[in-house]
Amino acid sequence: MKRTFAAAAGIAATAAIVLAGCSGGTESTDPDGPITLTLSGWSLDTTPEFQALADAFTEQNPDVTVELVGYDPVEYNTLLTADLAARSGPDIITQKEVKFVSTFQEGGQLLDVSDVELPDGIGGASSYEIDGASYAVPYRQDSWVLFYNKDLFDAAGVEQPDGSWTWDDYEEAAAALTTDASKGAYQHTWQSVVQGFANAQTGADILDGDYEHFAPYYERVQAMEEAGSEVAFNTATANQLTYQGEFGTQKAAMLPMGTWYVATLIAQQASGEANDFEWGIAPIPQEDASTAGLENEPVTFGDPTGFGINAGIDENKVEAAKAFLEFAASEEAAQVLAGIGITPALLNEAVVETYFSVDGAPGDDLSKFAFAEHETLPENPTSSRTAAIQGILADMHTAILSGSSSVDDAIAEAQDRVASEVGTD
């Protein structure tokens, strides 16, 4: 009796587990009735942009609800890939990293959204173009600027940036700003901090497999480490330094970083996590004087974040999804985003005003110029080879800055590896 019961219970439990994995399905939507769109996001508690856009869109279109699907931020692309491969992905796919766009597109996961109208002057749209068609629209585009601590500049008697700096000026200022208590600059350990500028400002393309243009940028970093005007890479990795800690607690007077840090710094100064000091943002130093100065457009880099549409979306929802994409790229959405400290892909005077009206934001004109005026080149070219090449360049980055390989040797090795392991066709 007992054993039969146990056996039956065992089989029933197993069957339940197996069946639970196969549940779910799609119901067809009535085109005239209320529509619910699902949208993928990450860290929903601390990333308010998705909910803000969803709410603003529903306000305009009361019969469309946008439901957020949260993912883990670190494994976002892996988890999303799994969901898409299982055909249970969201209707609107947020493109967190440009280097995955071509994977999704080649896999037939993204709908052609070339007919979604974009406002003039929006940045980052080219990152979503493959063979002349668009597969996503940008709504957010951070770009890299120079954060600087005005108090430390004044204390050291160094003239504050005026928008005309080249990297030589930056190096010189860093040396002059260095004291026993603080370094002139902090350079975070990411490969972008060196390679992103080198690629954008020399006009190089990482897909062509030639990396000589990195050499002067790495040599400058090494010289600054040697001179003691910034923390050594090895110390930063061993002690797991954070850029928020280094700049926020005044251990460094300058910090090249993306504009996302503006909102973080304001919040951390308000909460007391960061010290109370005057700061501003300046255009990132340039390769030479031809792009420097307030009358020119400084060249920097940054990748957009955008929305694409799942190719497997219910036909009746396509129109609503495209309407959402159009809204996300519009000035209205840009205002919503700027209001919560996010850098929209569309920047005009009104949007910039909103962005800087937040309590604690710097009020000087140079900060506004740095935020609004720049030629932002993509960090990751849209190609299926980008991920592999960036992996190899990341190895080169640690090899050079840890001091375990000379600049020339590491570059030569990276070129060999890209040629033999990835190909440069």
Binding site: L84, F100, G107, A387, D395, S402, S404
Partner: protein
Amino acid sequence: MATSARTAAPPAARKVPQHRPGSKLRRHNTIVGWSFILPNFLGFGLLTLVPIVVLFYMSFTNWNAFGTADWVGFANYERLLTDGSFRISFLNTLYYTVLHIPLTIVASLGLALLLNNKLRGVAFFRTAAFFPYITSIVAIAVVWNLLFSPDSGPINEVLRAIGITEPPGWLTSPEWAMPAVVIVGTWRDMGYYMVLFLAGLQTVPRELHEAARMDGAGVWQRFVNVTLPCLRPTMFFVTVMLTINSLKIFDLILVMTGGGPGQSTSVISQFIYRRGFEENQFGFASSAAVALFFLCIAVTVVQFLWNKKRSV
């Protein structure tokens, strides 16, 4: 559990044969037996066996996680043979394994011998030795990174204090990064294998030790001629498990060095992870996984054969 099952079972078992012929009983028992292992076996089948079979298939295809996988025959394996990164990862994996196995065996056996004595507070020390094994790997990485810091880390300060003027750069140097990872790996694993050795030491008969002592054998002689031979089954098990775990090393490398500086600590598992989940080349990644699978099997088979030869 076992006792309660034994006390509950007999009445039912005695009743059954009176009503049913033997073959029916056997079938009944088989079904009951199967039903007990079914949940576990189904889990194994669905989550382990099927994916492994699919992995073998995928290694012959070109697949980016979407749509159909194109059959490419042995192309992935040919690419693997000429891929410089795979060669480096393969050699680094062997390097880690060759260094990690003997170090861990010596450390864990030493600890086990030490803590096999009747000491005051031996339970505390046994627990303490096991702590690293149950500590979060991320915490381990952060703390050891600080300890290994070339300029300000305590390890190099001690080395400088005892007169080594140019201590190694540890995780920042391509020559020393792997030894540093091995040290942390040994520190983490020794508690676990110590427990296995402690269990093994309980099976060493005291009479043998007494007899050896009567014959005038010293401590070292007794260890080599009594303890070690009696520990052979445990030693075999520990070696096999250590080998497989060393060849599969992944988490420690990922959180401590990420394979760097350069590629100096890149291992096969990480190669698979990067090709698969970062670059979406699941076919190529699968072929590397199959290579790792056969490497583990080959080494284990050799160990089994060697053990069999020794025990004859």
